[in-house]
């Protein structure tokens, strides 16, 4: 219902909440993997978990910012929000890669 209001990129990336669901699925998958295999090395597990969580958070943020009905972010052009999203993702993944070990 709100999909048509959303500009093109955000529709792709945010996709009506399915994306968040997708990341939650990822998260569960990582945790299950760790439960099977064991938490050695622990830092790898943590980095996997945190990567899922971080990206989900960023996606939610983007969704909020892009949503036209949201009063707070009215003046923010969606492209700007998207650029922020991309940048934050890149930084997050750098940290994750470092922590992955």
């Amino acid at each position: 219902m709100q999909d048509s209001n959303k500009p093109y990129e955000t529709k792709v990336i945010v996709g009506g909440g399915e994306k968040v669901q997708q990341w939650s699925v990822y998260l569960i998958a990582v945790v299950v993997y760790m439960a099977i295999v064991g938490s050695f090395p622990f830092n790898s597990f943590l980095s996997g978990v945190l990567s899922c969580v971080g990206t989900a958070v960023l996606a939610i943020c983007l969704r909020i910012q892009v949503n036209k009905e949201n009063k707070e972010f009215k003046d923010l052009p969606p492209e700007r929000a998207f650029a922020d999203f991309v940048l934050c993702n890149l930084v997050l993944h750098l940290v994750i890669m470092n922590f992955l070990g």
Binding site: Q22, V25, F82
Partner: protein
């Protein structure tokens, strides 16, 4: 090792032209290595320039492979001081030969020290002139010819010339002569007199002029005598510090020079006064226990302190010099002269060159008195200081078994033959007891071939043991009693050894209550034994034997021990006691149970008997005894821990196996790959969703923005690829650097793309 050439720089401050004659000791080696340093033939040394010397240095590694600088310490022996100089070795290629150059600053090696060395060589009969003369003589000539040389330099240069006999022109002597006469007239201090008068004497001896004469001999004599003190000592100058015996020796030499050079005879009364002074000087002679006499100056000022050797040698030199040129009643007591000789001989080999010179020169003065100088100028009788005769026993250990003969040698201090005399063995005391002498007045026969005095056979009363023999020298010609100093009796410690008979040796095990013998075995203590006994704690072990000397007396050795050693290496040592007849030890095991720590088992028996006078001392394993001891109570002492073999400390250590941390359980390959596939699935789904949603239609179609858009996606993909590389291979810094570049690119491109899209959607919106 090999021949090395050092370039030696020395400095004009040091007035030492003869630096190249010295012995060098190198200390980096464990033992000091000493060798002479000579000049390369044909090399003309210059005083304030550089000199090349050749040294063989076994300690410095100066092989072709080792190009580093090294520190080689060396000590110039004559200076008696450490000369620490960094020998920096630099390598120069010179005509394809490596020339090692080093800076060595030599401390003072003076004419005085050179003279001392040469004189020592001369007395000892070591011929060095051929090496030294070519290089030294030019410098002596230079020194003598120079007008700035001090009297001391002239004196020692002339002394060196006296030994080396360099070719010095008469003109040079003429110049020195007039200079010295002037110095003598003006001299006021003792050393000035000494050097100038001594130089004049040397000039006369070296054949320059036969008429070197002192004009005012009486006056000069008086001036020197004025510096003397009433106790025979001399001061250096009239307002100088205290008087010393060392200065007295110097003064006496100077006075002797005056007397020999005097144009008219010196007043006899003055000479008598000096002789009195000399006798008074002998009152301050000090004594060591062994009969050695010496002079020592007791000075408060440590800097001036010369030491007994230096003082005594100065006094002896002065005394003999003065006695040579005068006649009269000068006659120092013979035993004191002998004592002085014993002092010099008793020093052994001194540590420094100066001490060696003092010792050897003084001994030579005492020896050479026998050559009376025929003074052609006057018919003075020369008074001789007595020549000491030294009695020595070359071999102080005599063996009865080998029938050694007692040999005694009598000679002068430097080893020349003595006049005809007889040596008598007056007494011989056993060193332990002060009983009467076992020998009375035996005469030793003289063997002219070997110049030794022999005692044919040791008297029967001399048995095995340590003795003190007293010898006396009796000169054949009673007239010579004044010429030679023989001293009284000389004591020498002699050890007589022999083969000791050991017999009736037996070892028994006794019952302690009844005293009955359980086992008894005879031992042959000359040969091998291997007894095998067994005993328990109620029994006793007894060992007994007798020892007799070759002459049939009972012998008590210094050491007689019995050792019992357990298998566990615990040892017990007992002293074998002696009674009148025999040696016996009884081990009562009942009392020794606790000492043995209750250890039962096999004990090895070892007997040790030894003495200095016993030629057949032995340490023998006798066999073993199996001891049966009761069980130890709880409170018993434990046997002490046996010492670990110290060499084990240096043996190989226990090997350590390193245990690595067990690697964590890693998942199996397939499981990991499955999950990898699972994670990639959503990405695929994402792409499918993209296409289905039809968003790709919104992709900008016109060329320029399209390129930017593509670049944007490429940029993001590149960053992700960089992250993959970072995880796999790169380190953070490289990654950050690359990320910086990519980030800038991406920012630029992304900005263009997104602004383009924004502008298109803005355009669309109103529409």
């Amino acid at each position: 090792m090999g021949e090395l050439t050092f370039l030696v720089h020395h400095f004009a401050d040091y007035q030492s032209p003869l630096h190249h004659i010295f012995l060098v000791r190198i200390f980096p080696a464990l033992l000091p290595v000493e060798f002479p340093v000579i000049l390369r033939n044909g090399q003309k040394p210059r005083i304030s320039g550089s000199v090349i010397v050749i040294i063989d240095l076994p300690c410095c590694d100066l092989s072709a492979n080792n190009r580093d600088s090294q520190i080689c310490r060396f000590r110039a022996l004559y200076t008696n001081r450490w000369v620490f100089r960094k020998v920096g070795i630099e390598l120069y290629g010179l005509n394809k030969k490596e020339l090692y150059i080093a800076d060595l600053m030599l401390a003072v090696t003076s004419l005085e020290e050179t003279y001392e060395a040469l004189r020592t060589f001369e007395i000892l009969g070591i011929e060095r002139k051929a090496d030294i003369s070519p290089a030294t003589c030019p410098l002596i000539v230079e020194n003598l010819g120079s007008s700035s040389s001090s009297p001391k330099d002239l004196f020692y240069a002339l002394k060196v010339n006296g030994i080396l006999r360099c070719d010095i022109s008469a003109k040079v002597f003429e110049g020195i002569h007039s200079k010295l006469q002037a110095i003598v007239k003006d001299a006021s201090s003792l050393l000035d007199f000494y050097y100038s008068i001594g130089s004049l004497v040397l000039i006369k001896e070296q054949g320059f002029k036969s008429n070197v004469l002192l004009g005012d001999a009486d006056g000069i004599f008086h001036s020197i005598k004025a510096l003397s003190q009433s106790d025979g000592r001399w001061r250096h100058s009239s307002n100088g510090p205290g008087s010393t015996i060392h200065a007295a020796g110097i003064a006496l030499e100077a006075l002797a020079g005056v007397v020999s050079l005097a144009s008219t005879e010196v007043d006899q009364s003055m000479i008598d006064t000096v002789e009195n002074d000399i006798m008074k000087l002998f009152d301050s002679l000090e004594r060591y226990d062994g009969g050695a006499f010496y002079f020592d100056d007791k000075l408060l000022d440590a800097r001036e302190h010369q030491g007994p050797l230096s003082t005594t040698s100065s006094a002896v030199r002065g005394l003999t010099a003065f006695a040579t040129v005068t006649s009269g009643s000068l006659y120092p007591p013979g035993d004191k002269i002998l004592g002085l000789a014993k002092f010099f001989i008793g020093i052994g080999i001194p540590g420094s060159a100066k001490d060696l010179f003092n010792q050897i020169d003084s001994l030579a003065s005492l020896e050479n008195n026998r050559q009376s100088k025929n003074d052609s100028f006057s018919s003075r009788k020369t008074t001789l200081v007595s020549i000491p005769l030294i009695l020595s026993v070359p071999a102080t250990v005599l063996s009865l078994t080998k029938k050694d003969q007692l040999k005694v040698k009598v000679s002068t201090v430097l080893g020349s033959d003595a006049p005809p005399l007889t040596v008598k063995l007056m007494e011989a005391f056993s060193s332990g007891s002060k009983d009467s002498s076992v020998v009375e007045n035996q005469e030793l026969k003289f063997d002219p071939e070997n110049s030794v005095h022999l005692l044919d056979a040791l008297p029967k009363s001399i048995d095995v043991g340590k003795y003190i023999f007293s010898f006396e020298i009796v000169l054949h010609d009673p007239e010579q009693k004044k010429v030679y100093a023989t001293g009284g009796q000389t004591q020498v410690l002699i050890v007589v050894t022999g083969f000791i008979k050991i017999d009736t040796a037996e070892i028994t095990v006794l019952d302690s209550d009844l005293g009955s013998i359980e086992t008894k075995q005879k031992l042959d203590l000359y040969g091998e034994n291997a007894v095998s006994l067994s005993a328990n704690h109620l029994q006793k072990l007894r060992l007994s034997f007798q020892m007799t000397t070759p002459h049939g007396h009972a012998f008590k050795p210094h050491q007689a021990f019995l050792k019992l050693r357990h298998e566990s290496k615990v040892e017990h040592i007992f002293v074998v006691g002696s009674s009148v007849k025999q040696f016996e030890i009884v081990l009562d095991f009942l009392g020794l149970v606790e000492k043995f720590y209750y250890l039962s088992g096999r004990y090895d028996i070892q007997l040790t008997v030894g003495d200095a006078a016993m030629e057949n001392s032995f340490l023998q394993a006798l066999g073993h005894v199996n001891l049966d001891l009761p069980e130890p109570p709880e409170k018993a002492a434990r046997p002490p821990l046996q010492p670990v073999d110290h060499y084990l400390r240096y043996g190989p250590k226990q090997e350590i196996t390193h245990i690595f941390r067990t690697p964590g359980k890693l998942p199996s390959q397939e499981l990991s790959l499955t999950f990898l596939g699972l994670t990639l699935l959503p990405f695929v789904g994402f792409l499918l969703g993209l296409i289905s949603l039809g968003n790709l239609k919104k992709f900008p179609t016109s060329v320029v923005p399209a390129i930017f858009a593509i670049l944007f996606h490429v940029g993001i993909a590149a960053v992700l690829l960089l992250y993959m590389l970072f995880w796999l291979k790169l380190d953070l810094f490289t990654t950050l650097k690359a990320l910086g570049f990519l980030g800038i690119f991406l920012f630029f491109v992304g900005h263009r793309t997104l602004s383009h899209i924004a502008s298109t959607s803005a355009k669309l919106k109103p529409a």
